[in-house]
Structure formats: structure tokens, C-alpha cells
Symmetry: C2
Subunit: 368 residues, 2 copies
């Protein structure tokens, strides 16, 4: 194998494929990047079997071939090379020789025969979405996915296509996060993707309107970004019927400035944090939201002006969960809907109530 | 106690005094900031007994008084308050009441009677230096101070005033770092300051030409920055006679571009790091510096163009130590002076050979 490639392009491709290399596998070969040189391009693959990332870059190929090279060391060496063309060549059947201007290095490589084959997927593209949109949808739901493995399916995010709408849904038993986007698609799809792999996918997606093509198979999802492909295994099992959890009616509706509420809750929660509880109380009455908390260290009281439609209400929440939601909504004003102090609260973007729905269960207070 | 103070000023004063609060003391009161309201200003003090930081800010005082308040919680609450005037008042003999616009909090305070008295220092100023200069001098030496406590005096930095020059010196048995600055001072001084406290001092010093007044006593050094005073305990004992270690002659002199050498050493060191050794070899001959390293994972070879005066030489170093030195020198070109493969190497700024001197012991190679 012998090729010459641009340093910046190679560094970017390594950085992308490294995101799939978790270093947790018992197979040493999965610590490596598999590099294949064919015709006029090289392909880099990183994988932990759950997640596989493939990056293609153009190169001058003098001899085709395939090797697996330690991802971390190779990545560090390329990163520190001068910004120029890099020549890479296999020598003596077990090493590669790397040359860039006056810098040279030889590195032992691993046998590519041991590298697992990557899942073959027929790319009959189902969805095309802007990269920044899908990136925001992932970011807007991933925090609500379950952390513990009691119900493995809830550690994933549901990708649901229904009636020309893409819905991303995450829930963990305390809260539900839903983001919606109109798309051009006639299929109905329901697939659950591990949030761990989606977190890496969202790092590769750009904050731009470039397209990403998405393909689903029975076991995998493929994101095709052009020169980079990301393949994730799906989670098996049935996702919770989330739509039945969202209350369709409410007794009480609050319209508030998002950052005013966020700042007030953050301040009030400082007391709770110290006292090992994370409880904050909301007292909603007369166009006024009073947020309070207390612990053995002291107490806090915050007032926020709101627009109130309906009866007054006292309700309590885990401050961290409320902060998560108010941080992730990209809106100046939000709508909060309540039914009672023991029913979930629904939070939406006031400008576009269909863009997202967040639901949070209250903490039931012991009566005095 | 009751006062009204500007939020930004208070936040900055808390942030500065917090740098002395390490949280490692057995005295709970040292987790706190001691706040004293007198006449037209409040004074905040943080201390871990080794290091004491005092910040003064103007305030509207309605009632004088003194309290000690948990530094972390108080700091977080003030930081999250809106950007406006903050009213602070003691209530019910054990709490303070904090009010800022529509935000309020009450916080339990600690008894100021238990707070240790801060060292009294007669400020007969000895030195006046620009803040950015002393900050750079600390930064340029602190990395070479000893980390282990085998010889406690070497964990400090020597502040030496001699013949109108301020020298800062740190050494750990493998390397010596010296920075020099001409100053207007007729005294001769020699004091060793713990590098741990100097690290905090350098965070408070600004990157500006504002003055800092420095006073020495038998046991303490005081940095007076105007509204902020920093007092550090000195280390007891005799510092090593460093000047006798620096060779005054050399057989071989190399002039090189600093960043060329730094980048080459950093690349070559990647191999060494992986193999658990950090050794790099320098082969100096014919206006060429060849840097190489190898481990079981591979090998690297780097070439850097230099100007050589004297004989050729092969010598080896711990790559990390060489990188430390080449990173910290603020010069385009450096001078390296050698005597033999088993004598120390001296590195200087080529533009100003008196500004700094770095010395590094080589690693003795086993002969083949």
C-alpha cells in the first residue's frame, strides 16, 4: 500500500472515525482504524460494533492495500505533522512509513484480516434532512433518554416517521422530550437508536444546511453525509406509547419568558443542591410565578412575571429536570400547561407549539 | 451588618478571595469568606493559612459588622444574581438576607469570632513591578519547581533581589529555570515562596502594566495590587546555590528556531510516550539537528535546520522536560549550549540572553 494525501483531510477523517472507537472492546483490532486504499481514494473505518463510521478522502494511490493502525497514536502523529502532503507506505510486512517534509515515522500495523466486516446496507434512501436540523433534534431530546439499563429500550431515542413528520422522542419515566419536523416522506418508520451512538453522530453533523441522507434497515440506521457514513445498530424492542402520556387538556396555562424562569430556577436550585435535595416549589397566582426552595443552609425566593390563564396552583419539581428543559428550548417565550399539583406539566415553544413538547412529572409534596 | 454593593464588583472580589480557599483545612470556618463592613467599604478575606487573599470594594454601608459565609454557595448565588445592586443584611443572629431585584435568599452564616486573624504586615514597600512582568516571570519558572516533598524548599520559587535585579529561580534536580528583570531596588533579598500559592497569585495578577507593590517580612511576602492584597507564607530553609550549577563555558552552541524544534520534539515524543519511556535523542552535526525516538510501536525521525558553532554531539533528554522549556520561552530563536553528552544543556532567548536561563540534565545512554 502506498498513497499521498492532504494532511488536513486525513486529520479530519481520522477525527471522525475515532468517534466510533471507544476502546472498550476486547478485540485489540477495534482500537485501530482500518485504512483501505483503492483506485483514487482511501477509506478509513472506525467501529465498536454498535457504531461504525466510514470516511472517504481522495488521495494519490500508488499501490492499493489495506491495514489497521492504532487510532490514537496514528491520530496524534498526523495531527502534529506539518500542514503539507503526507506520504504513507507499507514497509517490511508489519510497519507503515509516514513522511511529511522533514518528519518521518514508522509505525507497526495490525493485520486487517482480523478487522470485522462492516454491515452492508442497501442505500435506498428514505429520508433527507438538513444536518443542522437533525443535529438540533438530537440535542433537544437526548438529555431525556434513560441513563440506567433497567429498560434498555428507553436508553435510546425513537425516530418515528408518520404522516410526513419526523418525530424524535426520548423518555426516562420522569420526563418526555419530543421534537418534530415536517419532511418529505411517504413511509411510516419506527426505529430506536442508542443515545450513546447518536451523541457521536451529532458531533459529526455540521451546523449547516447541507443534507444528510438517512436509510433504515431492520437492524441498522445509516446516516450518509457524503464523504462520511455513520452506521448504528438499532435497539430491539417496543418503545413506550408516548402519545398516550401527553395530556391533551389543561386547567392552567402560563406564558413566561424562558430565560427569566431559567435564571430564577437556577438561582433557587443552589439551595436545594447543597441540602442534597433538588426540590423547588412553584407558586402560580395572579400573573406571578414564585419559585422557592430551602435547605438547612438557607432559603431562596424568586418572583417572575407571567401571563396566567386559569386557576392558581402550587406544584413542586426536581430543579435539575426543569432546568434541562428550559435550557434546551430555543424560544424567547414558553407555554406551560398544568392540570393539578400531581399531574405532569407540559412545556412548549410559544412561537411554534408543534416544534417540541416537553413533559415533566411533579414531585408530590407531603401535606403539612 | 447591612450594605448595598454592585453585583459585578462583589462577584470579582469573591472570585479573587476564593483562590485562597482550598477546602483542605480541618477548620470549617476556612471554607468561608470573612466579610467585614466598615465605613464606606467592605473587605472580603479568604485564607488557607498558607495563603491569604483580601479584597476591598466600596459599598453603601448602613450598619457595620462582620460575618463568615460559605464561599462556594455564596459565590454561586452572587454569580447567578441579576446584574444590579445587591443588598445584604444580617437577620435573626444567624442568617444573612440577600436581595437583588426580585430575587431573595437567606443563608446561614458562621461565627466570625472563630476566623483566624490575618498576618499583620508593615507595608514598607520594597519592590514595585508591573503585574504582567511578574506574572510572566512566575509562569516562566513555576513548572520547574519540585513536585515531591523530599526537599520541601525546592517546591518553592526563589525570589532574589541582587544588584538591582530581580531573579526568580525554580529547580527540581533535573532542570533549572531562571527569569531575570532589572528593577529599581537597593536592598538585597532572598525569599522562597511556595509554588502552590504563587500559582494562585499569578491568576490574580493582570496582563497589564499596572503596578504591584511587593513587601517581604521574615515569614511572609505581600503582593499589594491596590484593592486586592495577597499574603503568602515563605518556605523555611536555604535554597540551593543555583549559580554554581550553571556552566559558564560551552564546547558547542546551537542557534535554532524555537517552534521548529518544539514541533519536532513533540512529534518524536509521541513514540516514546507510548512505549512508557519519554526518551528522545538529539544528533547535532553539520547545521542539522536530527531528533529521533523509538519504542516497540515504531520510530520517529525529525530534521531541523540549525546554525552550529563547535563540534558535533549526540545527547539524549527526557522529551517532556525539553518540551516544557521550549514552550515557555517567548522567543523566535533560541541558543542551546552544550559541553558533552553527560553535561547539562543551557537554553536561552537569542534576542536577550539575560532575560532567562534554562538548564536541563541529559539522560545518560547505555553504550552499545
Amino acid at each position: 500500500m502506498k498513497f499521498i494525501v492532504d494532511k488536513i483531510k486525513l486529520q479530519e477523517a481520522i477525527s471522525n472515525t475515532q468517534k466510533a472507537i471507544t476502546g472498550k472492546s476486547a478485540m485489540p483490532v477495534l482500537q485501530g482504524i482500518c485504512i483501505t486504499a483503492t483506485k483514487s481514494e482511501i477509506t478509513l473505518v472506525g467501529s465498536d460494533l454498535d457504531l461504525t463510521i466510514e470516511a472517504r478522502i481522495s488521495a494519490d494511490i500508488f499501490e492499493e492495500g489495506r491495514i489497521v493502525i492504532d487510532a490514537r497514536l496514528f491520530g496524534e502523529i498526523i495531527k502534529k505533522m506539518p500542514n503539507a502532503s503526507i506520504e504513507i507506505e507499507t514497509i517490511d510486512d508489519k510497519s507503515i512509513y509516514i513522511k511529511c517534509l522533514k518528519s518521518t515515522a514508522t509505525l507497526v500495523y495490525m493485520d486487517p484480516e482480523n478487522y470485522p466486516s462492516i454491515p452492508h446496507i442497501n442505500e435506498d434512501v428514505v429520508l433527507t434532512v438538513q444536518q443542522d436540523i437533525i443535529k438540533h433534534m438530537i440535542r433537544g431530546t437526548i438529555f431525556a433518554a434513560a441513563q440506567d439499563e433497567t429498560r434498555p429500550i428507553l436508553t435510546g431515542i425513537l425516530f418515528e416517521v408518520e404522516e410526513g413528520k419526523l418525530n424524535l422522542v426520548a423518555l426516562d419515566g420522569y420526563r418526555v422530550a419530543i421534537r418534530r419536523q415536517l419532511i418529505d416522506c411517504n413511509h411510516n418508520i419506527s426505529a430506536v437508536i442508542p443515545s450513546k451512538t447518536l451523541s457521536e453522530v451529532s458531533k459529526i453533523l455540521e451546523d449547516s444546511d447541507k443534507a444528510v441522507n438517512i436509510t433504515f434497515t431492520d437492524n441498522h440506521i445509516l446516516f450518509n453525509l457524503g464523504n462520511t457514513k455513520v452506521i448504528s445498530r438499532l435497539l430491539e424492542g417496543e418503545f413506550m406509547k408516548y402519545s398516550s402520556i401527553i395530556p391533551s387538556e389543561y386547567n392552567l396555562k402560563v406564558i413566561a419568558n424562558r430565560s427569566d424562569v431559567l435564571n430564577a430556577v437556577e438561582r433557587a436550585s443552589l439551595m436545594g443542591k447543597e441540602g442534597n435535595t433538588n426540590l423547588i416549589k412553584l407558586d402560580i397566582a395572579d400573573d406571578n410565578l414564585i419559585i422557592s426552595s430551602n435547605s438547612q443552609l438557607g432559603k431562596a425566593r424568586e418572583e417572575v412575571s407571567i401571563i396566567l390563564q386559569g386557576e392558581s396552583l402550587k406544584i413542586a419539581f426536581n430543579a435539575k429536570y426543569l432546568i434541562d428543559i428550559f435550557k434546551i428550548i430555543e424560544a424567547e417565550e414558553v407555554v406551560m400547561e398544568f392540570n393539578s399539583s400531581i399531574s405532569p406539566c407540559v412545556v412548549k415553544n410559544k412561537e411554534d407549539e408543534n416544534e417540541c413538547t416537553y413533559l415533566l412529572l411533579p414531585v408530590r409534596l407531603v401535606q403539612n
